[in-house]
Subunit: 231 residues, 2 copies
């Protein structure tokens, strides 16, 4: 594996503090592959053979049941997915596909578990990562159960606006995926955008501008315990 990838992975919180020898053990079985867009990486129910790390590009985590499909999360560089399944040696709960051309590192789950069993620093790093993931999903559940779709969209836009530190920005995913992520149909998302017009939200293609952020916030009522993805 090229040295540049190795250095990139080593710098991740997850691997930064572990023993050199253990890191080497992990890297020995690791390979990095570039995938085209829209490639299925994982199907839910499959055994978790590899811990995946997104080095570049982006990956959609989604789930299906009874012919329906929903988007659960987007993984962007540099972070991992399928960590919980790897640790528990359990089937993946979500499927994954590339959204664009993406470079993915694949670490054999067996190796991850083996190193995890002996390297305390690695175990602690995994704890922090999992605790973060857990809290993100809990926030998501609160968003889904406590808010209407219009409120979810309004808060999503406010979060996005905060991330880009700008009241005008581009949606970084297709509206159909955004709709699935927010738990609604594409048709409903269209109408929800219309429904936010009175609060100063202007939509033109994937370009969003918020003319009066305070007005939108009065409607959306963003809450640190739902919308702050930093803790």
């Amino acid at each position: 594996m090229p040295e540049t990838y190795r250095a990139e992975i080593r710098q991740l919180d997850l691997f930064a503090d572990m023993e050199d020898s253990n890191f080497e053990t992990l890297m020995r079985g690791t390979y990095v592959q570039t995938f085209p867009p829209r490639i299925d990486l994982i199907t839910e129910g499959d055994p978790s053979d590899f811990l995946h790390i997104v080095l570049s590009g982006s990956v959609d985590l989604f789930a299906c049941w009874n012919g329906r499909e929903t988007s659960m999360a987007t993984v962007r560089p540099v972070s991992t997915f399928i960590l919980a399944a790897t640790i528990r040696e359990a089937p993946n709960l979500m499927s994954a596909r590339t959204l664009e051309k993406s470079r993915i590192a694949l670490l054999p789950s067996e190796d991850v578990r083996a190193v995890f069993d002996t390297d305390g620093a690695f175990a602690r790093a995994i704890v922090r990562e999992l605790a973060q993931c857990y809290r993100t999903v809990v926030k998501n559940t609160k968003d889904l159960k406590l808010r209407t779709s219009l409120e979810r969209l309004a808060n999503y836009l406010i979060r996005h606006s905060a991330r880009t530190a700008s009241s005008e920005f581009e949606l970084n995913m297709e509206k159909r995926r955004l709709a699935a992520f927010l738990g609604m149909t594409p048709e409903n998302l269209s109408r929800a955008f219309k429904g936010l017009e009175p609060y100063g939200v202007k939509v033109s293609g994937s370009n969003i501008s918020i003319s009066d952020p305070d007005d939108l916030a009065r409607f959306a009522k963003p809450d640190l315990l739902i919308d702050d993805y930093s803790t």
Copy 2:
């Protein structure tokens, strides 16, 4: 702290493998308290001062936003809650209240973090616990996003029936809480029970009987990747 509690806690997966001396450190600051029903233990947003362990009774984890409230989970003996917030030294995302008279052990979060930093076995146990919690919340999200309320209720009943290994059982919580947990209103839950009558679900107070489990399952389409809480 009485020796019986100590032994009870020591046997938990979370504490079973750690160093004796570290366990002693943890227990030094721990106290056990009995709470009456309907007592608030934690309010969301509060700092996570204590890791809580339910020794007996049961605890409702719930969340609020904008005057609305929903139930997120029920914690039953013997397990912990507020683990992720403790580890990340972050505010609690959920509130907690006793459902009945309950014995709760309280471990100072600082001590938990200190021992976590030095005891690899403890860190590994936390990983397994958190990975489990994470997967549970993911399953919950899939349930919410991919199923209608009628389907959620049907699958809940099937899971409950499987847990008690019987086609007749008692609901172990108020219907209003069940409604909140399933993401619907109490009125809707009443109607949902009626809606399941054609599939052989009979309700009398909190007593549920399923006359034709296969018929109900054909409607509910239970799925290991949503409904199996063991992995």
